[in-house]
């Protein structure tokens, strides 16, 4: 009986350790803790070019992550990129005349949407639109322009 009890304890410890490992992976390692798919609202912005932006790219305001990109699609009429963003429910007071820009975190880092709040008294609602946008800076384009300019100056 004694032997069997120690065995039970060891099996219990093993299973508990395994489940603890899974929880560790889920909570400490992955993004589950910031998983807010349910609560929040969606806003849309149209960009001339959304560059390397991807679904799940962060949306931040003043450097703080307030949501993520939920969908990116192409508008065949206006040839624009339609970016849908899911904003966490706790940030309800984003003014209507907010500017959305696509920036790159670091030189080679991933791209994210940065919201710069305007001064309007009305706030963005669910399925609201951001009118003022600034496209992603395409590095190749910028380098091309720079080279072109310096060639012009030399003439």
């Amino acid at each position: 009986m004694q032997h069997s009890n120690t065995q039970d304890t060891l099996v219990g410890l093993f299973v508990a350790a395994g489940i603890a490992g899974l929880f560790f992976l889920a909570l400490q390692v992955s993004n589950l803790s910031s998983f807010t798919e349910q609560e929040g609202y969606t806003i849309t912005a149209r960009f001339e070019n959304s560059g390397g932006l991807k679904v799940k790219s962060p949306v931040s305001a003043a450097g703080v992550k307030i949501g993520q990109v939920s969908n990116i699609s192409f508008d065949p009429k206006t040839f624009e990129s339609i970016v849908k963003m899911r904003i966490n429910a706790e940030y309800k007071t984003i003014p209507e005349d907010t500017t959305a820009s696509i920036f790159t975190a670091g030189l080679l880092g991933e791209q994210y949407v940065s919201l710069e709040p305007g001064g309007a008294d009305e706030y963005l609602k669910d399925n609201g639109n951001i009118e003022i946008t600034q496209s992603a800076i395409i590095l190749e384009k910028a380098i091309g322009q720079f080279l072109f300019k310096s060639a012009e100056e030399k003439k």
Binding site: Q7, V11, F14, G18, L22, N31
Partner: protein, 260 residues
């Protein structure tokens, strides 16, 4: 020439009959799981010998694999000035690939070979026939609990392997090499996705647990009941498990991480 074709045909037929036997064996084992539900003691004993006894080798290997990943990753990433992303590299490679695969290989070597030898010896010493004589179904009484124990233990062991590996990478990365501790964790949390990475890793280890327990138990049950037969069956278990784990890993990876 004729002899060659004859051997080819014989071998093909032999491998197909073996596959057929293995499938029936598997079905019998799975239906047997229902019958061991009222007797959890059988399962508990097997969880001890399959899971608890593999615990030490899995955790120590996980620690060292994580530490090596930390070292190697640091040397390569520091060339690009991207040491901060060490956490992502360690966690992604462990959770997606190394955790499930290496722990399954260790599991096949540690627990699978033991299972084959045990069942093979039971068969050689006619314990299994003895049970049949007493109208006890040896598959239900002996095989099913072991199969279920392997199936349950594998994801737990793989999760432990990954978790301990990530901590090992952190010990080396932030403790020895001076990567920022906050960056190690926050980059990891930003990039590792619960659905895509963790759940897929768990699915992988469930598949590996299923396959390697199946192979180990079937090889034991199907062994030629002599000392030589048991020894060959044990070898086959380890070799076949390794092959199927690595082959299935490729297929699963292609299916899971294909898009994006």
């Amino acid at each position: 020439m004729l002899a060659f074709i004859q051997t080819l045909g014989k071998n093909t037929r032999a491998s197909f009959t073996k596959l057929g036997r293995a499938t029936f064996f598997l079905l019998h084992t799975i239906t047997g799981i229902i019958d061991i539900m009222p007797r959890p003691r059988l399962l508990l004993n097997q969880l001890y010998s399959v899971g608890v006894l593999s615990f030490l080798i899995i955790s120590i290997s996980g620690l060292f694999v994580g530490m090596v990943l930390g070292l190697q990753g640091y040397y390569i990433l520091s060339d690009f000035g991207a040491e901060e992303t060490l956490g992502v590299m360690v966690a992604a490679s462990l959770v997606r690939e190394l955790g499930p695969v290496v722990s399954a290989l260790l599991f096949a070597g540690r627990a699978g070979s033991a299972l084959t030898a045990e069942i093979g010896l039971m068969k050689a010493t006619e314990q299994l026939s003895g049970m049949e004589m007493m109208a006890v179904d040896p598959i239900k009484r002996i095989i099913s609990p072991r199969f279920l124990a392997g199936f349950i233990s594998m994801p737990l062991l793989a999760a432990l392997f990954s978790a301990i590996g990530i901590i090992g990478g952190q010990i080396v990365g932030t403790g020895l090499l001076g990567v920022d501790d906050g960056a190690y964790w926050s980059q990891m949390q930003a990039k590792i996705d619960f659905q895509d990475d963790i759940i897929n890793g768990v699915i992988k280890s469930l598949v590996f647990g299923f396959v390697s327990s199946w192979i180990a138990l079937f090889e034991g049950y199907d062994a030629v009941p002599t000392s030589e037969g048991v020894s060959r069956a044990t070898t086959r278990t380890v070799v076949n498990s390794a092959f199927s784990i690595l082959g299935l890993d490729f297929v699963l990876t292609a299916l899971m991480f294909g898009d994006d």
